[in-house]
Amino acid sequence: MMTLILRRLASLPIILLVIYTITLTLAWAVPGNPLENPEKRPKPEVVEQMKKQYNLDSFPRFYVSYLSSATGFAYAKDWISGELSREREAAIAAGFPPAQRPVFDLGPSLEYDDWTVNEIVRGALPVSITLGAAAILIALIIGLGAGVIGAVKPNSIADLCTLTIAMIGISLPGFVIGTALLLVFAVLVPLFPVGGWGGPSKAILPAVTLSLPFAAYIARLTRMGMIESLGADYIRTARAKGASERAVLYKHALKNAFLPVLSFLGPATALAMTGSFVIEKVFTIPGMGQHFVNGVQNKDLFLIMGVVLIFATMLILFNLVVDVLYRWVDPRID
């Protein structure tokens, strides 16, 4: 187990480096000038200097400098070499208060002057994680429930209903379901607020919307797994020894059927927690998803790289957690 964790952790930087390289190359190639203002244009020489200051005039320089400051390498280097304290002293001597430098510096937002990418992520990530966790919970409850119902009486009306609903959950895009839920439960029957964030009442509709595709997938996985295990020998044995139907279903069959669900949960949780652009837009949620899209639209290089690196790290870590859980839940797997 330890070896697995260590091996995975060791490969994390390499995977991140590959993702970083590919993303930065693509983002760099996007046409448009991130420093371009909508109407009033600065003089060309001013733009040149701004580009230099952010290393936007040279791909290799940007590549190296961003990587080293985002990973904390630049901070560590300056700390060890004593540059950090020299910088401090020089600033104080010149009459400037010392600047707080973050260890992991994801850079400034080029589009939103008043924010650093660190601040943006600090505000958005907790929102997305909460919403994602809530969605996965709802997905588990709905999905497992529907899956078990379907498996107990395959091809019954209940089964067909859950299958159909699951199919709809997978096929319909979030903005359709989200808008429909909003119109029904916020406008026609004003049970919930129309959007925003803060407090449970605002979280329910978006969490349900976000959970539906996951719920549908979990329902199908559970149903298949249950049907398979209900036909297995050990279930017959369990029934033969006189175990109650309840115990057979939940203790024996569901346990095995849950394993594929568990492995699906890793990437699903990462996906749910890094935000959905569409759901955030429909429900006005200040999460991470919007920054993926807006960052690219504005060619806000620092923001793009910041959110991609965070997302990649989360994805890798969640997969690792799931692998560990997997072995813990089912010690036969090694």
């Binding site: 046409p31 448009g32 371009e36 203002n37 909508p38 109407e39 009033k40 244009r41 600065p42 003089k43 020489e45 001013v46 200097q49 701004m50 230099k52 200051q53 020299r86 020089a90 400037f96 208060p97 939103y112 002057d113 008043d114 650093t116 601040e119 505000g123 958005a124 994680i129 909460t130 966790a133 809530a134 996965i136 919970l137 588990l140 808008t179 909003l182 916020a186 406008v187 004003p190 607020p193 129309v194 959007g195 925003g196 964030w197 803060g198 407090g199 449970p200 979280a203 203790k251 569901l254 949960l265 837009k281 429909v282 006005t284 200040p286 919007q290 639209q297 859980l325 813990w328 839940v329």
Partner: protein, 643 residues
Amino acid sequence: MSRMLIPIAVLVVLVAVSVFGDRPQPRADLTFINSSEVNTLDPQRMSWMHDLRTARLLFEGLVKNDVLSDGFEIIPGVAESWELSDDARTYTFRFRDDAKWTNGEPVTAHDFVYSWRRAMLPDLVSDYVAMFMNIDGARAFYDWRQEQLDGFMEREYASPQAQRDASYALWEETKEQFDAMVGLRAIDDRTLEVMLERPVPYFLELCAFTVFAPVYEPLVAQYERPDPTTARLVRRPGWTKGGVLVSNGPFKLDEWRFKRDMRMSKSEHYWDRDSIAIRTVSIPSISDPNAGVLAYQTGSIDWISDVTSPYRGDMVAQKLAFLEEHKERVEELQAQGYDQFSITRMLPDDPRAHTHAVSSFGTYFYNFNCKPRLPDGRENPFADARVRRAFAMCIDKPAIAREVRRLGEPSASTLIPPGSIGGYTSPKGLPNIGDAVSEEERQKIIDTAKALLEEANFPDDFVVELAFNKDAGHDLIGQAIAKSWQKSLGVQTSLSQKEIKIFREDLKNKQYMTARAGWFGDYGDPTTFLDINHSQDGNNDRAYNNPVYDQLLADAANELDPEKRMTLLSEAERIIMEEDLPMVPIFYYATIYMFDAKKLTGLSTHPRTKQNAFLIDMLGDGIGPDLPRPMNPDSIQIGGVSP
């Protein structure tokens, strides 16, 4: 099985803790939304309309506009009085002694010197740096600093430390240079002297513009320092956040959560605090236009300052139908001189009445690339003014305003919305096929245009390209214009839709043939529109270059007599709108508001559409006088939109 429940239990706890930990705040006295997130609250850096609108709640300049008066008069702000010298070049502002920052410290003349210096630095890349160039010595100072920065980059340094020290030394020198070069002086804490390069008749208008508002030096200076490698003064974000920002306006910033919301409360140190009828303001960030309208309909928002939902045309149509139902009463009230918001307030309650179209001091137009060659190297037929004129006449502008935009906007024949600037007479503009009263007249205009094309040897089977960015219905307008040209001039057209960033880049580099554009005025003088066609202007996307035009602008700048000056400017606009046509104006923009006029009052209907949200009073909430705040009854509604 129990093991499986542990991850689920962890999830439950996580969700419960964070959902219940994030308590919603109580409703503010006023909740309004902008069309997108505020980009910056640094007055010297801002240029977006929603930034300016928001910042006017927090900051106050030397003077301000009385937005509820018909003349949009200049009234005292931080300055309680001012004098202009006989040669009209030196302003002396006297500060009121109760002008205070939100921390209780007095606002001084030194604060203005500091803030205006920030704006004049090339380092800060202020979008409105050109406005500050009216101050004596500002241009020379800007150029000097830029030269020093260029020199700094080219020099070699013994060590990074030496380079850093040099950057700090240059900054010290810059401050001294500023004091020596620029005609801006704090005579004492309460007296500010401003020397202008030449008489600038609209200088007080500039002072009322938020970019000229002060920032609090002891705070801001902590966040700015020279970059050790480029010597440019870099600003770190941080001081514009809630609880940190120190400002001098009616409100103080309590909280700003990125793309989430902003909350303000009345400043207890603002000198005119007794006139403020709202205690708290909340500005949620709702970027989806439909979500904004839904939020309004469910009552969580009091005012949408810019409705951009795709169905807003229908909303305006319903409002017009509502007014039609009460036609007699409306006409009666109009005759009594009531403004459109007051009229709506006096009509019966109706959800349709919550939509309001107001004219917004901006013009939608199409640019012609005036360079002799097209991007692909071919000869550019649009370099010939006759061709531009012919194409300009043959766009059915009223049809576009009526059928494509559907917001009740008037079609445009000039760049400057007529009637928006006092004392200025707009030129007539070219005849347009859409304005023709008969088929005969229409045909005559088309024949004139065709003759112009023939004269200019407009090539056969030339494909005219129309470029636009892909959002906000520009595609439909592009199609309508293309159809107009195909039908009346028999030319071929192609439409080219681009991502906004790329589109802007193309405009700047003149990589287009014809392209959509728009311009909003910043201050109450024709130059706010006309300057963009000056051959040397950074916003001259058309590469238009007419020495006569440039000379007229220069003459106007040197003309001391206001009336003569306006005549010169009017002649300049006539040249671009009747002869040279570097751009074709299509319509004058309207902005769509949503609010209940029976509940909310204090918004202006002046064609300049600058809203000072601190004037708002929520009727019947028991705070403030709770009386309607109409426009001055004599308010003129020229160039404006029907209510």
